[in-house]
Amino acid sequence: MTLKASDLKVGDVFTQRLVEDLKRTQIVQYAGASGDYNPLHTDEIFTTKVAGYPSVFAHGMLTMGMTGAMLTNTVGDGRLTKYGVRFTSQVWPGDTLDASATVTRVFEDGGEKLVDLDVVTVNQNGLEVLKGYAQARLD
């Protein structure tokens, strides 16, 4: 699926449920795939007893990766030109995350049609865990 510039207007919003009741096992899966084996994400004993957190928590990059799936489902495969985020709150096992992308600009640059999007992911309490932007090519 690819977006057409003629179908988009500023303020259009796309949303996707990223995960319901995030499991520690998924965080372990991400550790294994990404290579980031920081015990803060996978080792409850280290994280609570040594590092002083209430529980392990997700890699920020897991949230960015899940949110990226919402973006590629929205703009199409291989269409992103930019994607950047700030990790604004931690994501914990048991969290349910929803991502949204809001169209902020539809424009042309060098003969290419592009869209700018604001990107936000929130948890089940409405707390923002990730905030950023993306840009993608349009048909």
Partner: protein, 167 residues
């Protein structure tokens, strides 16, 4: 990321896509991918983060024969200073504060990337919950086997004086 060469392989993309809960057939079905406009399995947008697997010096992977700070008999294998237990892929360790990508061309299974990392800015901020916050930036350019720029990644890491209060 200081990986010298990062061979991008189908099975690695498959596992990465599973871990982020992305069921896109372009990441898991070579036949489907072959028939697509890309002609091959491609990588999801944040996949280059997995270049850590190929960085010989990456600090957040247990190394054969070396102490590891995760729990075993004891809650940690190594005593480390406060705030040094992290290193989320940004600049100089601690937690990962920001990540930015610019995409120049599709990343395909079979590509071999070369990463070049340069340190960026560093700055400090007084945090509300974790004491003083020390930020550092690093920029990594990933080029393919033909020397073409594929992805530019900018990471920002933050170190805190004590664990950030999760509330």
């Amino acid at each position: 990321m200081a990986a010298k060469t990062f061979p991008v392989e189908f099975s690695h993309i498959l596992m990465f896509a599973r871990s982020i809960g992305d069921d896109n057939p372009l990441y898991r079905d070579p036949e489907h991918a072959k028939a697509s406009e890309f002609g091959a399995v491609i990588a999801p947008p944040t996949f280059v983060q997995a270049s850590a697997q190929f960085d010989p010096d990456y600090g957040l992977r247990p190394k054969i024969g070396k102490p590891w700070f995760g729990s075993g008999k004891e809650p940690t294998g190594i005593r480390r200073g406060p705030g040094s237990g992290g290193g989320g892929g940004g600049g100089g360790g601690g937690l990962h504060a920001e990540q930015h990508y610019e995409y120049h061309r599709p990343l395909r299974a079979g590509d071999v990337l070369t990463a070049t990392t340069t340190p960026g800015k560093t700055w400090e901020k007084e945090g509300k919950r974790g004491g003083k916050l020390m930020f550092s930036e690093s920029v990594t350019e990933y080029r393919n086997q033909d020397g073409e720029l594929v992805v530019t990644a900018k990471g920002v890491g933050v170190r805190t004086e004590r664990p950030a209060d999760p509330t």
